[in-house]
């Protein structure tokens, strides 16, 4: 007959594991739980930001949101921004990764340099680009004038559709290296033998690309697209610093709307309502991302 073990080894280990992750869990409660609950809670109030004095308004904020022209145009702006910059990031990112996968001189230096925009502070990026975009002294206008592509200096940030195009371009410049890193890592793991076998079978370069490279990239691209979509959708720093939402709210995306509502118009309750709406959209994206990564892991 065997005796019951006194205290299970596995349980003992489990306890250590829990202790190790406890501080992290605490932080996560601060990052996820608290803001989520807060935002939902605050969205039911009307709060004056400087004094933090508030009164209950229930779902009035939400009805105002649905009727608000500001909200819907912010949604539209956010979608234009996200889709525009995402497409550019993808195209340039994949193209660059493919290029950097070829044999060339100083290849590792090139790979490092291309990453600079991503790790640069948004503030620095914005300052540099605002200087480049400067209508009188910016080099961009100068180059375009000399090339004969324009007749007069362009106001990049103060006019539409220039402003939206400008931020989409700068966003692409800043974030495409992320796509490069991920795609390049995947490209490097494709065994050379696959290409060799295809060449022996008579496949030309374009066929090799469509039949071998693309299928291998598909998984990674899905992940990259979803991640970048989520991050671009959330973007605040870049747009706020480049155009401030102007001209006349033409580039005001949802994140800016939340900020303005909270700290310029001083209506923290309404701002929280916008925030909740934003999070719901992102939730949709994240769920799709989760389903895709789970499917990839199984498959």
């Amino acid at each position: 007959m065997h005796a019951a073990p006194p205290s299970s080894l596995e349980k003992h280990y489990a306890r250590i594991g829990v202790v190790l992750i406890a501080p992290t869990v605490l932080v996560f409660c601060a990052v996820i739980l608290y803001p989520l609950v807060s935002a939902i809670y605050l969205s039911l109030f009307s709060i004056y930001t400087p004094t933090l004095a508030g009164e209950w308004v229930g779902v009035d904020n939400y009805t105002a949101l649905l009727a608000s022209g500001d909200f819907w145009s912010a949604v539209r702006n956010t979608l234009i921004w996200t889709v525009g910059t995402l497409i550019l990031q993808l195209v340039f990112g994949v193209a660059m990764a493919l290029l950097l996968n070829q044999s060339m001189v100083f290849r590792s230096l090139a790979r490092s340099l291309v990453l600079f925009p991503y790790f640069l502070s948004t503030v620095v990026a914005v300052l540099v680009w605002r200087w480049l975009f400067n209508d009188l002294y910016g080099i961009l206008n100068h180059v375009l004038l000399i090339a004969g592509l324009i007749d007069a200096p362009v106001n990049w940030l103060g006019q539409m559709p220039n402003a939206m195009i400008s931020i989409i371009l700068v966003g692409a410049w800043k974030y495409f290296p992320f796509v490069v890193i991920v795609v390049l890592a995947r490209l490097q793991s494709i065994p050379e033998q696959l290409y060799e076998a295809a060449t022996i079978d008579g496949a030309g370069p374009f066929q090799r690309f469509t039949d071998i490279t693309l299928p291998q990239l598909r998984d990674v691209l899905v992940v990259v697209v979803l991640l970048r979509a989520i991050w671009d959708f959330k973007e605040f720093d870049l747009i706020y610093l480049m155009t401030g939402g102007g001209p006349v709210g033409a580039t005001r995306v949802l994140s800016l709307l939340v900020y303005e509502e909270a700290f310029r118009v001083n209506r923290m309750g309404m701002a929280s309502t916008y925030a909740v709406a934003m999070m719901l959209v992102l939730l949709g994206f994240t769920l799709v991302y989760l389903r895709q990564t789970n499917r990839l892991e199984e498959g």
Binding site: R15, I16, V105, I181, K234, M279, L282
Partner: protein, 276 residues
């Protein structure tokens, strides 16, 4: 087409694009050493006719810039230490231990990507006000930890999963406790990954803007990002030379890290990103 001709063509194409990508940064450096007068010449000059460090001198002696730099340094280093410490322990827990709710936690990490910083900023602002920490570096350290930790965990997890389990088993049989095995085996093996993560966290904190903007409102506590933008807004005339000089100085840590450690940084990213 033979191999070396192909190589030349790829080199030219790739390097043209790389230079185009890097051009803004080069322009930034060039602008920062041009004298004011030359700055506003039309057409703009590509290479500076004269080089001056006048703007740097002004930046360091006549503006709060040094203070901003110091604040950013303290902030980034402190947050990195905290995040790496918590993250290493947490990642180890997620990777090697079994307990209820572990999978849910791993999924929750993903949900943190959901949080737009604008949404986080409002409750944090309220919390800091209540705790009496408004306008202090400590409030920024706490705030930065909350958003840097998920990224650190993500990176550290992927590094730790590549360490063979047998090593810890051997340590356990040899007489180590779980924590002993962690210190003797995991830490030394994960060290390159920990360094990568630390650098990445440092950069993340160094570059952060929104929290610095909202949670702090006095120059003595402001970090570089908010401080420099503030200089832009408060001055009547935009002093581009000064701003470019400030931009170059702000990017110094990045350039240093990149020159010496480009390999480690991107390796971590590549590994972590694909696993997600």
């Amino acid at each position: 087409m033979n191999a070396s001709r192909a190589r030349t063509i790829w080199s030219i194409v790739a390097w043209t694009i790389v230079l185009a990508v890097v051009f803004p940064l080069i322009w930034m450096i060039v602008t920062s050493v041009k004298p004011q007068a030359e700055l506003f010449s039309i057409p703009p000059t590509l290479m500076p006719e004269t080089i001056t460090f006048e703007h740097y001198r002004r930046l360091l002696t006549e503006t709060p810039f040094p203070r901003f730099f110091r604040n950013s340094m303290i902030l980034a280093v402190t947050t990195t230490v905290v995040v790496v410490a918590l993250g290493t322990l947490g990642a180890y827990s997620l990777v090697r231990f079994k307990y209820r709710g572990r999978e849910t936690l791993a999924t929750l990490v993903l949900f943190t990507y959901l949080m737009p910083s604008v949404v986080l900023v409002i409750p944090l602002y309220l919390m800091m006000a209540k705790l009496g920490l408004a306008n202090t570096l400590a409030s920024l350290v706490i705030a930065y930890t909350t958003f840097a930790l998920p990224y650190a965990l993500w990176l550290l997890r992927s590094f730790m999963t590549s360490i063979p389990v047998d090593l810890e088993s051997a340590a356990l049989v040899d007489g180590a406790s779980r924590i002993g095995a962690f210190v003797d085996v995991i830490l030394p093996q994960a060290f390159p990954g920990i360094v990568s993560t630390a650098l990445f966290t440092f950069i993340l904190c160094w570059n952060e803007y929104l929290f610095a903007l909202v949670l702090v409102n006095s120059d003595s506590v402001r970090p570089l990002t908010a401080g420099t933008m503030n200089m832009l807004i408060t001055s009547f005339n935009i002093d581009w030379s000064l701003l470019m000089a400030a931009s170059v100085m702000m990017s110094l840590p990045l350039i240093v890290i990149f020159t010496f450690l480009q390999g480690t940084l991107t390796k971590g990213f590549g590994a972590g990103a694909v696993k997600g």
